[in-house]
Symmetry: C2
Subunit: 302 residues, 2 copies
C-alpha cells in the first residue's frame, strides 16, 4: 500500500519534494499557506533540471486546513521556522500512532521542539540541499542540487527511516541517511549562516557575496565561527569545509537564498533558527563569535 504523506507548508521546498513523491504515485496531501488558488487552478507545475513535471489539479490534493486532510504515515514539515508556533494545530490532527514527522526546515531547534510536542521517537530531521524558488505565478523552479539527507532525532536506526529514504530515492530525490543528525545540522549551518544571513542583511546573491577576496574572507570568517561553535557541541567539522563550501557555491551562480527573498518581500526572517540558535550555543559555551553576533544584530534590526 502506498503511504499517505502530508506536506505541511507547501512553499517552494514542500511543493518540490511533495511533487516528486506525488509524481511517483504516492498519496501526497499538501497544506498550502499561500499559493492555494494557483495550485487549484493550474495544478502543481515544476520546472526542474532533473525533468519538468506537472501534477494536474484533479490529481493534486491541495488543502488549506489540516482538518481536511487524512491522517498520514509521514508528515513532512516544510514551514518557515517563523511559523513554528503553529506546530501543534497544524500537525496534531494528522497523527496516528505510527506517524513519523520529518522536518526539512532550516537551522537548529526544530526537532527538539517537535519532540517536546509529539514524542521524540517519531521525529526525523532532514536537510534539503537544493536551490529552489517559487515564481510569482506559483511555478516551482528547481535550479540546482536536490539531495535530501535525513536522520533520526533519537535512538538507533529504525526500519521506517530506511523506508522513507527509499520513498525519496524512488521518486528521483537522492536521499542519504545521516548517522548523526546534529553533525548534518551544523554542517549545513556552515553554509546557511553566511549565505542566508549576509544575503538578507546586505541584499546580495550568493555569487555577489563571494565575487571578491574581501567577500570570500567575510563569508569564511562566519563559517569558521560556526565550525568553532559546532566543536563546543561535540560536532567536529573539518575546517576545510569552509573553502569547500565556497568553491561549491560558485557553481550555483546568482542564487537568492530564502532569507534574502524573505527580506526583499518583507516577510519575517528565519533569524531564530539560523542565526540565534547557533549564537546562543556559542554564548553558552563561552566562545566569541563576533561576526555571527553582529550579523544576528543586523538581521534582527526590523
Amino acid at each position: 500500500m502506498k503511504p499517505i504523506i502530508a506536506i505541511i507548508g507547501a512553499g517552494a521546498v514542500g511543493c518540490y519534494y511533495g511533487g516528486r513523491l506525488a509524481e511517483h504515485g504516492n498519496d501526497v496531501h499538501f497544506l498550502f499557506r499561500s499559493g492555494y488558488d494557483a495550485a487549484q487552478s493550474r495544478g502543481l507545475i515544476v520546472r526542474s533540471l532533473d525533468g519538468d513535471f506537472t501534477i494536474p489539479p484533479d490529481r493534486l490534493n491541495a488543502h488549506t486546513h489540516p482538518s481536511q486532510m487524512p491522517k498520514a504515515d509521514l508528515v513532512i514539515v516544510t514551514l518557515k521556522t517563523t511559523a513554528n508556533d503553529q506546530y501543534q494545530p497544524l500537525i496534531a490532527p494528522l497523527l496516528h500512532d505510527q506517524t513519523v514527522i520529518l522536518t526539512l526546515q532550516n537551522g537548529l531547534g526544530n526537532e527538539a521542539r517537535l519532540a517536546e510536542l509529539f514524542g521524540r521517537e517519531r521525529i526525523l530531521g532532514g536537510l534539503a540541499f537544493v536551490c529552489i524558488n517559487r515564481l510569482p505565478d506559483g511555478t516551482i523552479h528547481h535550479l540546482d542540487h536536490g539531495t535530501v539527507k535525513i536522520g533520526q532525532f533519537h535512538g538507533p536506526l529504525r526500519p521506517i527511516t530506511t523506508q522513507i529514504a527509499d520513498w525519496f530515492s524512488a521518486s528521483k530525490v537522492p536521499c542519504q541517511i545521516l548517522p548523526d543528525l546534529l553533525y548534518g545540522r551544523w554542517e549545513k549551518l556552515v553554509w546557511n549562516v553566511p549565505f542566508n544571513g549576509l544575503g538578507a542583511v546586505m541584499s546580495k546573491t550568493t555569487d555577489q557575496l563571494i565575487a571578491t577576496p574581501q567577500g570570500r574572507a567575510l563569508v569564511k570568517s562566519l563559517m569558521m565561527e560556526i565550525i568553532q561553535t559546532a566543536a563546543t557541541q561535540g560536532v567536529k567539522l573539518p575546517p576545510e569545509i569552509a573553502d569547500l563550501n565556497i568553491a561549491q557555491t560558485r557553481s550555483m551562480g546568482a542564487y537568492r537564498t530564502s532569507m534574502q527573498i524573505d527580506k526583499q518581500e518583507n516577510r519575517p526572517l528565519e533569524t531564530e533558527s539560523i542565526l540565534h540558535q547557533p549564537l546562543a550555543a556559542a554564548q553558552a559555551a563561552g566562545i566569541a563569535t563576533p561576526y555571527l553576533k553582529v550579523l544576528y544584530d543586523m538581521a534582527s534590526l526590523d
Copy 2:
C-alpha cells in the same frame, strides 16, 4: 578686498557652502567634477531651510580644471575622500604663499595627507554638520542643520582661522572654531560610522536604523566602540554622546547618508576614511572593536 575662495569638488556640500559664500559677495570659484553642464545652463540653485537662493550662470564661476582657476586665499576641499589621490593635481595650481586649505571631508586622515603635501601650517580641518543632497537636476537641497566647525591641524590659533570663521558666519553659515580638531573628528565619527556604514551596507535610512530597540542597540554598539577607540588616541568623549546622537538623529527624519547614496549609485564608498582609519587606530591600540571590524568587512565587499 574680498577673498578668493576655491571650492574643490563642487558636490552637494561644496555647492552649498560655496554658494552661501558666493551669495554674500565673495569671489568663489567652483571646480566641478560632475554637474558642470547643469550649473552652466541653470546656475547654482539652492533650496534651503535657511532660505532659497540662486547664483545665476553669469555670476557663477564654474570650472572643470584647476588650471582655469585663479590662485586662491582659501581652498575648501569637498571632494569625496575616494578622490584623495587627486589632492596634488587639483590643489597645487591654486596655491600662493598664504593660501589656507580647509578640508570639509569626512573621516580621518585627510588633514595629515594634505599637510604632507602642502605643509602643515596652512591646513585647517572642518566638520560640516549638515543634511544636504544634490537632486538629479543639479539642485542643491539643504534639509537640516548647517553648522561648520573648523580647527587648525597644527599650532596655536592664528588670525586667519578666525577670519575664515567670520567669512562663514557672515554668509549665513554658523561657524565655530574647534580648539581641538581631533576631538571634533572623533566626535563626528561617532555619528558617521554607524549611520554612513550601516546605511550603506544595509541600504537603510537613518530613521530605519533607529526605528527599533534592536536597531538602536546596534547603532549604539558601534558608537561605543568609536568612543573607546578615541580614548586610545587621547580623545576623551563622554559616553553619553551615544544616546544624545541617537536622540538628535530622530529629528532628522528619513535621511539617506552620503555613503548610502554612493552605494545605491554604485560609486566608490568612503570606507577608508570613515571606517578603516578608525579600525586601524583600534587595532594599533590593541582594542577589540568587533562591530566596526565586521562593518568594515561588509563595506569592503565590493
